[in-house]
């Protein structure tokens, strides 16, 4: 157990970090509220995702998400302090996309001693996850607080989450993304290709089929090579499709097999079921302009 480390990391459930990594690096994960139909519950990682996406797919229940209260964050920080943390690095969901960051920031001010250092990840899902892993590895190597903060700031500009949505419906319904809300009525089935980068969700392109989407993903990722981190993320996409993506990305993968991560209900509620994509940290001095 790495409890001896005096720098600890806190993140939130939106980071979609697999349990193995959470335990391996001893990360503090703040749960997030998810509502499905009349029920509201805290997603601490135990919520049945298959059931959630099933309900989302059938449209039987509207889902929503809510940031935890500053009190939940304070509780989490306090626990880390009690475990001996001198400094806490907070890596939470992008400030532009959620109020999680604000609440975490507020809680940080409530904790005495200025121990909590929050860096806006400008990311979601494993985009946050990879920054957390990179920071945790640096701490393990003995990096100082300042070095870790500097590292995360550098890496986040090379971090992207990309994916193809099965349809634009959920993104439109979520109301978070202005271009999606403003879309015309679509007469044809269109799958949006989205990119989350620098705190913004943008439309990278539109395709009609998953095949074409995967080609576009590969094209895009090729511009970012050599990749430093790569994970496949999905919201219960079809298994053969995930396998196919694994196959075509294999040559670009920095670690094999490529980790496959289920996107949790919070981000998942906004993009809907059946989405497939990647979270990636691209090569240095190869900043993409996704053109």
């Amino acid at each position: 157990m790495a409890l001896t480390a005096t720098v600890r990391i806190a993140t939130d459930r939106v980071a979609d970090l697999p349990e193995t990594l959470i335990r391996r690096f001893n990360i503090q994960v703040v749960p997030v509220y998810v509502s499905l139909g009349a029920q509201t519950r805290l997603d601490d990682g135990t919520l049945d995702r298959r059931e959630f996406y099933q309900a989302l797919r059938q449209g039987t229940a509207l889902s929503g998400t809510a940031a935890p209260s500053p009190y939940e964050f304070l509780k989490a920080y306090q626990q880390l302090v009690d475990e001996g943390a001198e400094h806490i690095i907070g890596l939470f969901t992008s400030a532009t996309l959620s109020s999680i960051h604000n609440h975490a920031q507020f809680a940080a001010q409530l904790l005495s001693g200025g121990r909590v250092h929050i860096i806006d990840t400008e990311q979601v899902s494993m985009g946050i996850g990879w920054l957390v892993v990179s920071a945790a590895e640096a701490i393990e190597r003995g990096a100082s607080l300042d070095e870790v903060v500097a590292l995360v700031s550098r890496l986040r500009s090379r971090t992207q989450v990309l994916g193809v949505l099965d349809s634009a419906v959920h993104l439109q319904r979520s109301g978070r993304v202005s271009w999606a809300v403003a879309r015309f009525i679509e007469l044809l089935q269109i799958k949006p290709l989205i990119i989350v980068e620098g705190g913004a969700v943008q439309l990278l392109g539109r395709v009609r089929t998953f095949h074409r989407a995967l080609d576009r993903l590969l094209e895009h990722l090729t511009q970012l090579t050599p990749l430093e981190r790569l994970a496949i993320i999905h919201t219960y996409a079809d298994a053969p499709l995930i396998e196919r993506l694994q196959q075509i990305l294999e040559p670009l993968a920095p670690e094999k097999p490529i980790p496959v991560v289920e996107v949790g209900p919070v981000f998942g509620a906004h993009i809907g079921p059946g989405c497939l994509g990647v979270a990636v940290i691209g090569a240095e001095n190869n900043r993409s302009n996704h053109g």
């Binding site: 007469l187 044809l188 089935q189 009609r208 089929t209 074409r212």
Partner: protein, 565 residues
């Protein structure tokens, strides 16, 4: 009087040439249906006779009111008219012939036999240059052989009447040989329609020199009526209304200036008022265009939404007649009166002009982004001028044209060439290819990059087209009877059967569905939507691994267009 006593003709001037153009046009009108019938493929396809007639009509309209003694200048005016009205591949090649012809004559007063040699040579050369991959056994071969014969005959005689008689004779022989050069003609048992059209034009000119009648009643005087054979042409979105609907005789345009206006709401309201509606703009400035029976209705509606500017009400009957007398002014209706602010607000890096027939298909393209739809397609190819006008009106300096039909490639390329803007034609052959290309448009990428992507993705789509055979033929070993439902897979005839729905089933059975995910059925004009839905439901059962969608296309002539991707 008599054949033996006729005076030789050594020179022709501007007025002579004008009369010859009219004679050519009238003679072509007489033979339009015959030229149309020379269709290789038994599908309702771009009708060559109609396209060439419309091109010559535009050429004539340009010079009808002109007094010009210099043949060079008369020819160059006529060539300009042909270029602006060029329709279909045959019409565009024809316009190139006239361009080369006129360029050679330059500012000359008279045409003599030796000038005719140079002019025909230049005509043939320009025609070949206008085509990316010249094919022998077409109008190109005919014009080249005519040019060669002109040279040969001019060695023997300087009499232009004799010269014309000889080249017409030679043109006829040349047309007759086209099936020996082009296997597809041989197979279909026809001569090349474009070559035949050129022959008719030369013959009309020759008949004028011979003093023979070219019009049915033997009179070759103005004015003439538009032939009932001409297909309807209208640019629903391009504003330019050549055809008018007598139910909606008034063309109303205005700009509404206001704040927080809801463009979609106003568009929906305008759409209910009449024909050819167009509503563009933003929350502060909206441009409205619509054809209505009562111009007061849209204007008072607009006044409720904000304050009105630049109200224009036009009587389309008058416009129509003006078009028929060939004024270019009707082509710039829209561009001139869009305020700069609106243009800026709508300004794009890359504009797209798509050609599509059918209100449903036009809506599909519009739903995919900011595009200008030029109405047209099979059997009603838009003119160079119509495409050009759309290109000029797009609020972008870079424009991509998606012709969605190979018969429109040349007119699209002409428009691209004539325009001052940076214009590229992505040669999409079908509606599904055009949809795929448009979807890949990336406003952040360069024109070149977009063209490359669009060309590549359009080839990834398989297109099925269901139509009816326009005559008996045997193709690809399939015996086709006139009126049969036939299915084309990426342009190849693969199915001949009784019903259109049956043709769809067979076509899918023939198609390679490996790695395909999505099939879209665009049902055409006259197809019952419930029937299309029932067919789709049945196909969903039959192909559980594929997704199906059914979309209202309302395209003419093609009950079903199928996109397999």
């Amino acid at each position: 009087m008599g054949e033996l006593l006729r005076e030789p003709i050594y020179t022709l001037d501007g007025d002579d040439f004008k009369q010859m153009v009219l004679a050519a046009l009238l003679w072509l009108r007489q033979h339009q249906a015959m030229v149309n019938a020379l269709n290789v493929f038994p599908v309702p396809d771009g009708d060559t006779g109609t396209n060439m007639t419309l091109t010559m009509t535009s050429a004539w309209d340009e010079i009808a009111g002109v007094q010009e003694p210099l043949i060079g200048r008369m020819a160059s005016k006529m060539a300009h008219g042909a270029l602006m009205g060029a329709r279909g591949n045959s019409g565009v090649i024809l316009s190139q012939i006239w361009r080369g012809f006129a360029r050679s004559l330059d500012d000359q007063l008279h045409l003599r036999a030796e000038d005719m040699v140079a002019a025909m040579h230049s005509a043939a050369e320009t025609a070949y240059k206008g085509v990316v991959k010249p094919v022998e056994g077409t109008i190109l071969t005919v014009v080249r052989e005519v040019a060669e014969e002109t040279f040969a005959v001019a060695q023997e005689t300087r009499d232009l009447r004799v010269l014309f008689e000889r080249i017409v004779q030679h043109a006829r022989a040349s047309v007759a040989r086209t099936p020996t050069l082009l296997p597809v003609l041989r197979q279909a048992g026809v001569v090349d329609s474009g070559g035949q059209g050129l022959l008719v034009i030369l013959e009309g000119m020759c008949r004028h020199l011979q003093g023979l009648p070219v019009a049915e009643d033997g009179v070759q005087e103005l004015p003439f009526e538009i032939s009932p054979l001409q297909p309807a042409v209208h640019g629903a979105v391009t504003q330019e209304q050549i055809e008018f609907d007598s139910n909606y005789p008034y063309d109303v345009q205005f700009i509404i200036v206001g704040h927080n206006m809801n463009v979609d709401e106003i568009r929906a309201a305008i759409e209910k008022l009449g024909d050819c509606p167009l509503t563009v703009g933003d929350a502060s400035t909206i441009k409205v265009h619509v054809h209505v029976a009562d111009p007061g209705i849209p204007i008072s509606y607009g006044a409720k939404c904000g304050s009105l500017r630049d109200v224009v009400v036009e009587d389309m009957q008058a416009q129509y007649q003006e078009f028929m007398s060939g004024r270019e002014s009707s082509l710039t209706l829209m561009g001139a009166d869009i305020p700069a602010g609106l243009n800026d607000a709508q300004s794009l890096n890359i504009g797209v002009v798509v050609v599509a027939a059918g209100a449903g298909l036009a809506n599909v393209f519009r739903s995919l982004g900011t595009v200008t739809v030029v109405e047209g397609g099979q059997t009603m190819n838009p003119s160079t001028a119509q495409i050009l006008e759309a290109v000029e009106n797009v609020p972008a300096d870079n424009v991509i044209i998606l012709p969605n039909n190979k018969n429109i490639f040349l007119a699209a390329r002409q428009a691209a060439e004539v325009s001052q803007k940076e214009v590229v034609v992505v040669p999409t052959r079908t509606i599904p290819q055009g949809v795929a290309a448009l979807l890949s448009l990336d406003q952040n990428a360069s024109l070149e990059a977009n063209v490359a992507t669009m060309s590549a993705v359009s080839k990834e789509v398989t297109t099925g087209e269901i139509t009816w055979a326009t005559r008996d033929v045997e193709l690809n070993g399939i015996e086709v009877r006139e009126g049969d439902a036939i299915g084309l897979l990426d342009g190849d005839l693969v199915v001949d059967t009784r019903s259109f729905e049956e043709a769809v089933r067979w076509l899918l059975a023939e198609a390679d569905l490996e790695d395909r995910e999505l099939v879209t059925l665009y049902y055409g004009e006259g197809v019952n939507p419930e029937q299309a839905q029932a067919l789709t439901d049945e196909l969903i059962e039959a192909y559980p691994d594929l997704e199906f969608e059914v979309v209202e296309g309302l395209q003419p002539h093609y009950p079903y267009i199928i996109s397999i991707e």
